[in-house]
Structure formats: C-alpha cells, structure tokens
Symmetry: C2
Subunit: 330 residues, 2 copies
DNA sequence: TTGTATGCGTTATCAC
DNA sequence: GTGATAACGCATACAA
C-alpha cells in the first residue's frame, strides 16, 4: 500500500492535479470541486509531500536553532523565545544540538544544505576563522546569538557581559563584600573570554583585586563541582563568588556546602544567565540576567527579516543585562 | 548570485550532470573526472539540495523527536540517548516541542507530512483516540516513548511507574517513615494516572494509608510550589513525600523550607525521573530512575528497526526502574 | 473556473 | 566509464 500522491487524489476525484492543488492551497474553486477533492483526500488519507512542495516553492517554512548543550537551561529560555517568534510568523522550529566544539558547529553550518531549513540560528561557544567562513558561505541566512567579529558581516545579537559583571560586583560591594572570587568557564570560549575581561574591569572600577580565580573545563554542573578544590585551596580568602553561568554556580554551591560554608552568610554567590535553574536552586541564586529571552526574540526577528530581504546591511544588536537578586546574596 | 545547482557544476566542469552526481556519491569514475568535478564543486561552493535528493531517493535521513516540555530535564536525558543511537545510524536528529495539550500532539503527528523526516519519536503526556488514530495513519513510522493502548498497534517503550513507586515506598518504610504523602501531576495525564495508581498500590502493599495527596496542575517547578499549600494544609501529618517528577519535588522542597521544615529530618522527599536536576538540587534528591536514558535508546532502536521493516509486529518494551538514593532521604 | 504542460534539483536507467 | 533523459511530487503559467 503505497502512499497516495496528488495524482492519486486527482484520479479518485475525477479531476485534474491542478484542481487538487488549488483546493488544497485555498485558491478559488467551485463548491462542488472543493467537495469532491476533499472527499477524495479524506478517503485516501492523502497528505502532501513537503519536500516536493518546498522544492517547487523554494521554501521549507522551517527554521533551525542549533545550541551547544541541551542540558544548559539558558538555552531553554532562548528556545522558548525563538519558538514564539518564528511560529507566529508561520515557521516550524527545529532544534539540533552541536556540542562544544567548533568543528561540529562548522559541520552543522556546512551541512545545513539548502533544503533543510530556510534559516539558521546558532549560538556558538567557540568561534574561529572556519566558522566565520562557513557562515558567510552558507546557503541559507544565518544569525548568530553570540559574539563574532564585525567583519564577518553577519547579523548578531549578543549579551553585554562586562556590564553584567559590573552589576554583580556593584551589588556585592554594596552588600559589603570586597573579597570577590571568580569561577570562569573555559577561557578559550567566547563567553569565557568576555566574562574574564568583564570581571577584571569590574573589580578595577571598584579598585579591588580578585580574591581568587579558577577556570572550569566546561560550562556544566559537573565542571563547577570539579573546579571547587582549586578555589577552596585559595583558603577561604573570599566572601563572595561570581560564576560564569548558573550551572557552574550551582555545582560550586554544592561543594561550598560540603566544605561547611554557608551561602550567603560565609560566601555570597552570583550566577550568570538567570536561567530557570537560578530560581530552582537552593538557596535561589542571585544571577545576572543577560537577556537570553530577549536575545532569542531579537535573533529570531533578525532571521525573519533577513529571509525577507537578504540585501539589508547586517545588524549587531547588544542586549543590556539586569540583575535578579535572590537569596544567595545577602 | 543564485545558488549553484548540479547543472551549474556540470557546465563549469564540462561534464554531464550524471557524472557529477556519480562523483558526489562515490560511484566509480576515473581519477581525472573526480578531479575536474571536485574542482568545480569547490570553485562554486556547491552544496546539494537535500529536498531534491530525498525526493528522489525517498528518504530524508532525518528523525524527529517531539517532547512536551523542553524545560523538563528528563527530556534532555532522553534526548541525549536518542541522539546517540540515531546519529550512529547516520541520521540527523531534530527536536520539536509540542506543549502539554493532546491537540498539539495530534497536529504534530498529522503535520509530520512525508518529507519532513523518516520517522517520529513522541513522548506524549496525554493520549486520546484522536492521537492513536493520527499515529496509525501517519505517513512515517512512529514510536511512542510512553503508554498507549496495545490495540493502537504501535511500538512503545514505557516505564514501570508502579514498580518505581514501590521502590520509593520500600525505601521510605525501611527508613522508618510511614506517614507518606504524594504530590501527583495532573491526573488526566498518562504518567499522572499511572503514578497515582502506583502510589495507592505501593502503600497497600505495606498496609499503609496515604498521609496526604495533592495534584499539581502541571509537571513543572512552578506547579510544585503552587501545590504546597494544599499539602501543608494537611497539617504536618506526613514525614515523607513522593513527587510525580523531579521538578515538582524541587518546587515543593522550596516551600517546605519556607515553612520551616527540614529535608530529610522533618520530611523525606523522593522525586521521580532521576533527571540531572535531582543531582543539582539541594539537598540532592533521592529519585526513582524510570530509565529515561534507556527508554530513549530503546525507542530509537525500535524506530530504526521499523524504518528498516515496516511489517514487523509492534513491540511493547517495558523498562525497569531503579532507585537513586541521595540526601533528601535519611 | 478548470485542465495541460513545464520545471524545481536530484538520482537512476538506459544506451553509448 | 560517460552522457542524455526520465522520473520523484508538487505548484503554476498558460491555454481552454
């Protein structure tokens, strides 16, 4: 029992394929024609082949969002925002995951052959020449939620990490904490580099020295835990701690508790991303909101606009951060 | 600058389209032919159109995984497992999200017209006649990670909630807790119904009465918090609490803490799913592992097998649970 | 309004 | 081994 095609429907209804196509696409037709076609469609259980359709019309009405780690709750925030925008515009959103390596990211962009989707939204952790090149050469429009060089000539929506860091430090200092430590993610990543720089600048603005600095191997919960010894070896010289994302913060808080340190009494902890995890953590985590929802929304809008008009000049949007204060800081 | 097609490559290389296609697909050709085609491909930056290709060969080499809520960490566990299996088999995995309503799920299965993917993996929260019907009529193979009636005649991989409940109750009773309360998710969902039944049976097996029972409006963190008053109004008559999933458990633990109750001293808490959140929660959450990773793996294998042979009899696999004991229970 | 015929970009079947 | 050509399933310009 082979699947029915439009030709089969036409035969069953005793009309031409063109008429079937017209009825299915809501083009003008007589009541009777609509009736006959509809009956044949129902009887055969016909459903159009989206490949053939999109091959003909040149669009798939699908958009792809590629994230590095589905386990990172910051991406679910972004995903929800993107989904809302693109589905309102009549597109289906499909999500694929790339992992932390640039090569995978490049492979994805390269492999995003024409036909898979009408546009691509990526949020790469690491960026190199190859990635920029593959984006420029990509068959479909690409927008980056993150930071790539301006000369890449691509639409970007990025966070303002330095400003976010400053908000965190301001808050901690206002609460009387001056011995501030920092747990970064991998420094060879874009967010890692940005947050490291931001931390240094923010402390300088307050004429403070870092109390301790450590670098996790990844932006994950496990990496946060694993980095704890490095930080604790510094010998309790810090009374506040900023982490490069919420997962690291929560991982580290577990080890802080294990070491007998109480949050926020002994150590105030600030995360970044203000993901759902910040709210779910205990104590609830004060976190720098880097606007992941807004970044997702803006990025999706940019992508839709570029699909509409591929000649427009690339835009580079920066979303401003805010601080969500919860109980992990005094 | 229009996108190059195989015809353009053929023209540039001075050969036929058939030869280009052959070289690209690794079919026998002379060294020189391969050389010429390759050069033209590189020069033009040609990348094949996957629609046209799959229209011709009849396969997309894509599989779709549809989950109800991307924010539920149990799905990331499942997603990782599925991804691993299908990518090893040469398929790309795309993830789409449906929301908690059956109608959306039905729309997804219906809309999964031939051409979007070669197979569909769904994990529906609610199931009705329409959904079963749409699955049976679906153009591509569907496997369900969850529970649908046997007469649906579809491959399924499901958890054993009652057995899981029993593990939880066994554990609590062994630790001396007998006044056990239960926070369920919506009872009109498949997992909600199964867990409710399982809870009742498990208590009966120990000749215990439920200390309190409440029903959250959703399987989310927020719903877990919101359900707290209902449970706490019961007046501290329980010394243990089982929640229908980890998100509910964590949400509720926040309210327990707010009410001055200490976990596990005053109330032992057990979640279900054993998701990443269970480990990240504080205190780390004892949770019933319903085998989400294994369910994902087995479901993916079933889907691949069915794509291979659509005539094989439907299989119904049940994955056995285990208990991950952490510090939320004594 | 309806039907006929062409082409979207690719692979596969033939001849050569 | 290579090249012309017919499909794959659909939408649409054009003719009726």
């Amino acid at each position: 029992m082979s699947r029915p095609t439009i030709a089969g429907v036409a035969r069953a209804a005793g009309v031409s394929v063109a008429s079937v196509s017209r009825v299915l696409n809501g083009l003008p037709a007589t009541e009777e024609m609509i009736e006959r076609v509809q009956r044949a469609v129902d009887a055969l259980g016909y459903v159009p082949d989206s490949r053939a359709r999109s091959l003909k019309v040149g669009r798939t009405f699908q958009l792809t969002l590629a994230v590095a780690d589905v386990g990172n709750p910051v991406y679910v925030t972004m995903m929800r925002a993107v989904e809302e925008v693109v589905s309102a515009a009549g597109y289906r959103l499909v999500v694929t995951t790339t992992g932390p390596d640039v090569v995978d990211e490049v492979a994805l962009v390269r492999g995003m052959a024409r036909g898979y989707a009408d546009g691509l939204l990526i949020s790469p952790i690491r960026v190199d020449e190859d990635l920029v090149k593959s984006i420029r050469e990509c068959e479909v429009p690409v927008v980056v939620a993150g930071n790539v060089p301006a000369k890449a000539g691509v639409d970007t929506v990025r966070a303002n990490s330095p400003k976010g860091m400053l908000l965190a430090v301001d808050h901690l200092v206002a609460k009387g904490r001056r011995r501030i430590a920092f747990l970064n993610g991998p420094a060879d990543t874009v967010p890692g580099a940005a947050r490291s720089k931001g931390f240094t600048e923010a402390l300088k603005a307050h004429e403070l020295q870092p109390a301790a600095v450590a670098e996790a191997t990844d932006f994950t919960f496990a990496a946060g835990r694993a980095a704890a010894p490095d930080l604790l070896a510094a010998g309790g010289v810090f009374d506040a701690l900023i982490c490069a994302n919420d997962l690291l913060a929560v991982g580290l808080m577990h080890e802080l508790a294990a070491a007998g340190l109480e949050v926020p009494r002994d150590v105030a902890v600030v995360g970044m991303d203000d993901s759902e995890l910040a709210e779910q953590s205990f104590p609830p985590l004060t976190s720098v909101n880097l606007g992941s929802a807004e970044r997702g929304r803006r990025a999706a809008e940019l992508l839709l606009a570029r699909i509409e008009d591929n000649e427009r000049a690339p835009r580079r949007i920066v979303v401003q951060p805010s601080l969500s204060i919860r109980r992990s800081t005094p």
